[in-house]
């Protein structure tokens, strides 16, 4: 195993530890929320756990957070790898929300539930494979994800087609996570949620 692998493995452990710490320290989780979230604190203050948004979702993308999430248990969240948000044109989940915990979305590009981040170590596009599944599946193709063409080292006839996330445009719908063609040793694309952004100062 290369040194790079060891570091990546350690990083994964650190991320997991960081997550656990975050729940314990802040009392808030880092869940991926439905479209219309205006900030984790704002959302938590308004959400009454009525489940109406979960019922309204035609794709069954939303589910109630489990008891391990502490105060957030029962609030709506998305497991992007399982079933991502499809960014419905009419946002039935937002329309169903009685308290405005989810609000203010009109266009498919409006939601800001988070943004996607790619692990360059594991993503096979970074190795030169023509993959880019995340790019082609993106509902905001050529906007939220674009391709960056980079020369390959030691190969003068091929180019890396690097999927590149535009953080300001990405809605955090998670479809790229759901469809990613790689899952070993782990899925190399994930959503940095609003909660995480706030906790980490927008990183």
């Amino acid at each position: 195993m290369s040194a790079g692998k060891v570091i990546a493995g350690l990083a994964a452990v650190l991320v997991a530890a960081e997550g656990a710490f975050a729940v314990a320290a802040n009392g808030s989780s880092k869940l991926l929320r439905p479209p219309g979230i205006q900030g984790e604190a704002d959302f938590m203050a308004r959400c009454i756990k009525c489940g109406k948004c979960i019922e309204a979702c035609p794709y069954a993308s939303l589910h109630a957070a489990g008891p391990a999430e502490g105060a957030a248990a029962g609030t709506p969240c998305i497991d992007a790898r399982e079933q991502a948000c499809r960014l419905c044109k009419d946002f039935p989940c937002v329309a169903a929300c009685p308290t405005g915990a989810l609000r203010d979305v009109a266009e498919r590009s409006d939601p800001k539930a988070g943004y996607a981040r790619i692990d360059e170590e594991v993503c096979i596009a970074y190795q030169g494979y023509r993959c880019e599944v995340c790019y082609r599946i993106c509902p905001l193709i050529d906007q939220a994800i674009t391709l960056d063409f980079q020369a390959m080292e030691n190969d003068d006839i091929h180019t890396k087609f690097i999927p590149t996330i535009n953080k300001d445009v990405c809605t955090g719908c998670g479809l790229c996570v759901e469809r990613c063609a790689v899952d070993e040793p782990y899925v190399p694309i994930r959503i940095v949620t609003r909660a995480e952004q706030e906790r980490d100062g927008g990183r």
Binding site: I124, N154, H158
Partner: protein, 856 residues
């Protein structure tokens, strides 16, 4: 700590790259499988292979451990891809191991359940082969026009060779055709008409030299992923390099092009004629090239469409291939109506865009590389459009120079190597030979050691693919055998061909259908017997890719259960069908196959599949090495002046089998210099053979010192034919009832009908569903939202599908796209069965449909 697959792949790749640098990969992957350092006490075996999927033909290295493939990665020494793959290639190892592999022969007991997976029982090989052979023999003896074989551009070269030999010499039937008819036939007829030799003159390395790329009806970014990576390398290495995408809809290829030029209404024919018109009118054509190399012709026009089963035999249908010579001036005259305005009116393309394309061809100082594929071939005037692309490249002298040429991209891994080079078409014989030509039949008889005139019986071509399935539906085919394809999903007009339409078109339920397969498919649902086959690297084989590269894949693992090599299946059927038959005084089977197969032992005579292939290759390569057979050599040189022409068979020269392993594939013609074999990268271009130019071919048959250092020595009078081909409309034109133009094609994640890639969980997850791409304005007008179910209705049939505006393709208004990989969304139920009258290739790109929103 257990090593993850990815780490394993990566470390293995590094090991290979290191070995490659030391120049030792060839020896590592030579004849005998070599072993690596042991892992956990067992040894990893490395073998050489070629990707199972598209026409790019990427080389791969396969690693097996304890009889199972553990990794597949790009072969750094295969010059087609030099070590890289797409995501399909990344998952190659997984295609072998889905749970529902066919491992036992199946015999249908209940014919009333035909069309379903039910009604089969497991059988022994003896029982299944006896049944298949008895049905084939019975049909053959009764009326051999009623039997058919449907092969494939995914059939390995020698399996295709043996099948063709059995069908054409054993059964003396031309009712054999491959699925390449649905894919490359228009390109083939174009090459044969223009150059009298098939396949592109150039190679993939042309990409590294081009200044301008033009993709015509080619979604390379998705359908030829590794080649497109190479195009992008050329582009980023030099900002002056431009890419124009000429298409009917926005694709991922267009998304990365410098300019997208959209057209409709068969306007590609008008645009290319318009370019030719102004090249001549403005005297911007290449005068020296034209005078040295070209002749001019016109052909039959107003040819209508193959809208009835009797079209080929109709008065016009019989004249479609006819051409006559005209002068350059007459050709110019015929082009005159194609003004900027007229071409723009026909195509809907702005005049400025057509002018911009013209300016490229009018510029002698840039290198233009045109790529075209299914948008050009699957076209009711597909052959004509192939002509027109050759025409503008030839007139402007942008031909046959590195980076400056026209290149027809191939769809399947061995459409070139098997369907085209072996000649598994109903009108062909191996190596560019055709059944209708007496000299070609004599030559084939010589190589196959048949009595002279034995092949007179097959002078008339048999049923081409659509004819085959039309006659099957009409009840005029009693026996059909298919392998390496999935016709029940990939054929057009499935409503008719699957017996779901008119009462008098349900012959599929009465015919005896044999399907050799590796997984259950829609085709196996219609089978009477299913024969379980060895898949990909479960046997030895070879593919010939889009740049004329022949490459071997070694057997790496055994097939599961009772699954068997297709070659063995063929031998076992052939020996039964030909029992007690004679050719001259000799036993028919032994004369054809006795060199390789012992019918009493029911096994091959050679010790290994490698030795079988090597021996059979020696016979096959005699076609392109006439000196190996004195009788063939005399016909090749027309020694007795019986035929009035030389065949020049060496134009396709192939090397001894093992060279292809040692050199990780080679592009033909392959030439021997001082005991070493050298590929030809640029056919008809004079230069040093060792640098990849066609030195030996030109010195033997051509002329040196002509314009562009080119010599088209295979063409009649050494002059390719520029044939005037006019604009004629699509087979169907949108109207109030069917206002949309519907196109189908491939997407990157899935291969063809998805029977392999959809069984790879990661690929299935990446693209789980076939969506109908619509223009958002059309969706709004019809009240359709993303994710709504809709019904597509054509004159031919209907299918339900989910609508999308997600942008994978971006159709303009009134255009639609959906891929054909998903069997639950059988979009070929709506596709028209109209084909190009010359190539007989169906038009999959412009069936007229309407879209109905489904309630609920």
């Amino acid at each position: 700590m257990s090593i993850s697959r990815r780490n394993f792949v990566k470390s293995a790749a590094i090991a290979m790259a290191t070995a490659a640098a030391a120049g030792s990969v060839a020896s590592m992957t030579g004849c005998a499988p070599k072993v690596n350092e042991p892992i956990n006490g067992d040894s990893v075996k490395k073998t050489l292979a070629v990707c199972r999927f598209c026409g790019c033909g990427c080389g791969v290295i396969v690693e097996t451990l304890r009889g199972k493939v553990v990794s597949v990665y790009g072969d750094p020494e295969n010059d087609s891809n030099r070590g890289l793959n797409c995501v399909k290639g990344y998952y190659l190892s997984k295609i072998l191991y889905a749970e529902d592999r066919l491992t036992k022969p199946l015999i249908r007991e209940d014919n009333s359940l035909k069309g379903t997976d039910e009604g089969f029982r497991e059988a022994t090989w003896t029982e299944a082969l006896d049944l298949v052979a008895s049905k084939l023999r019975e049909t053959w003896k009764a009326d051999k026009s009623r039997l058919a074989y449907w092969g494939s551009g995914q059939q390995p070269i020698l399996e295709g060779y043996a099948t063709s030999k059995f069908w054409k010499a054993g059964l003396r039937s031309n009712n054999i055709d491959p699925n390449a008819r649905l894919c490359m036939a228009s390109a083939v007829v174009g090459f044969m008409n223009v150059f009298q030799t098939d396949e592109p003159a150039g190679c993939y390395a042309d990409i590294d030299h081009a200044d301008v790329f033009i993709t015509w009806g080619a979604n390379m970014a998705e359908a030829h992923p590794m080649l497109y990576s190479r195009v992008m390398t050329r582009k980023i290495s030099n900002p002056k390099v431009k890419h124009y995408d000429v298409s009917t809809l926005g694709t991922r290829t267009g998304a990365t092009a410098d300019k997208v030029i959209l057209f409709g209404n068969n306007g590609d024919l008008a645009i290319t004629n318009c370019i030719a018109n102004y090249l001549i009118k403005n005297k911007t054509y290449d005068k020296r090239f034209v005078e040295a190399h070209l002749q001019f012709k016109k052909g039959t026009e107003n040819i209508g469409n193959a809208d009835n089963d009797g079209y080929d035999k109709s008065e016009i249908g019989q004249k479609v291939d006819a051409t006559e010579s005209i002068t350059f001036e007459e050709y110019a005259k015929r082009l005159e109506p194609y003004t900027w305005e007229y071409a723009s009116k026909i195509s809907g393309t702005p005049v400025e865009d057509i002018k911009e394309l013209y300016e490229l061809f009018a510029n002698p100082d840039i290198k233009i590389l045109s790529f075209w594929t299914m948008g050009v071939n699957q076209h009711n005037r597909g052959t004509w459009m192939n002509h027109n692309l050759h025409n503008i490249h030839l007139l402007s002298g942008h031909y046959c120079k590195p980076g400056d040429t026209g290149f027809s991209l191939t769809g399947q891994p061995s459409a070139c190597g098997t369907a085209r080079e072996v000649g598994t078409f109903c009108h062909r014989l191996p190596a560019d030979l055709v059944v209708a030509n007496p000299q070609h039949r004599r030559y084939t008889e010589a190589v196959w050691n048949l009595p002279e005139n034995y092949l007179e019986d097959i002078a008339t071509p048999g049923f081409h693919t659509t004819k085959m399935f039309r006659e099957l539906s009409n009840g005029n085919i009693d026996f059909l055998w298919s392998a390496n394809n999935n016709w029940a999903q990939s054929m057009s007009n499935l409503t008719r061909f699957l017996g779901r339409g008119a009462e008098d078109k349900r012959g599929i339920f009465d015919a005896f259908i044999v399907v050799s397969e590796v997984y259950p498919t829609i085709s196996t649902k219609y089978a009477n017997v299913v024969l379980p086959s060895a898949m990909w690297i479960e046997r030895e084989g070879a593919f010939g890719n889009g740049e004329r590269r022949t490459a071997v894949f070694e057997k790496a693992v055994d097939p599961p259960g009772d699954a068997m090599w297709d070659m063995w299946q063929l031998m076992e059927v052939a020996k039964r069908v030909l029992q007690d038959e004679k050719i001259g005084q000799e036993d028919a089977f032994d004369l054809l196959f006795g060199q390789w197969y012992d019918k009493d032992a029911a096994d091959f005579k050679q010790e290994s599949q490698r030795e079988v292939c090597k021996s059979m290759w020696e016979e096959y390569r005699t076609f392109s090495n006439p000196d190996l057979n004195p009788r063939a050599a005399a016909i090749n040189s027309d020694k007795d002046e019986k035929f009035g022409a030389k065949l020049k068979m060496e134009a396709k020269q192939l090397a001894p089998y093992e060279e292809y392993i040692y050199q990780h594939g080679m592009t033909w013609p392959v030439r021997e210099i001082d005991g070493k074999w050298y590929p030809t990268k640029w056919r008809f271009a004079y230069g040093d053979q060792k640098e990849g130019y066609d030195q030996i071919g030109i010195e033997k048959y051509g002329d040196k010192g002509l314009a562009g250092d080119a010599s088209f020595y295979k063409s009649a009078d050494h002059k390719p034919s520029v044939v005037f081909r006019p604009w004629e409309p699509p087979a169907e034109v949108p109207d109030d009832e069917y206002p949309f133009v519907f196109c189908t094609g491939r997407l990157l994640e899935h291969w063809h009908t998805g029977t392999m890639t959809r069984r790879v969980p990661a690929l299935d997850n990446a693209l789980p569903e076939a969506l109908l791409d619509m223009n958002p304005l059309d969706m709004e007008a019809l009240g359709i939202k993303d994710g709504d179910r809709v019904k597509l209705v054509s004159r031919w049939g209907e299918v339900e599908i989910t609508a999308s505006s997600a942008g994978r393709t971006q159709p303009p208004q009134k255009y639609l796209f959906a891929p054909f990989f998903a069997e639950e969304t059988l979009i070929n139920l709506v596709q028209q069965e109209m084909y190009c009258p010359l190539s007989k290739e169906p038009d999959y790109k412009k069936t007229c449909v309407r879209v109905e929103k489904l309630q609920g």
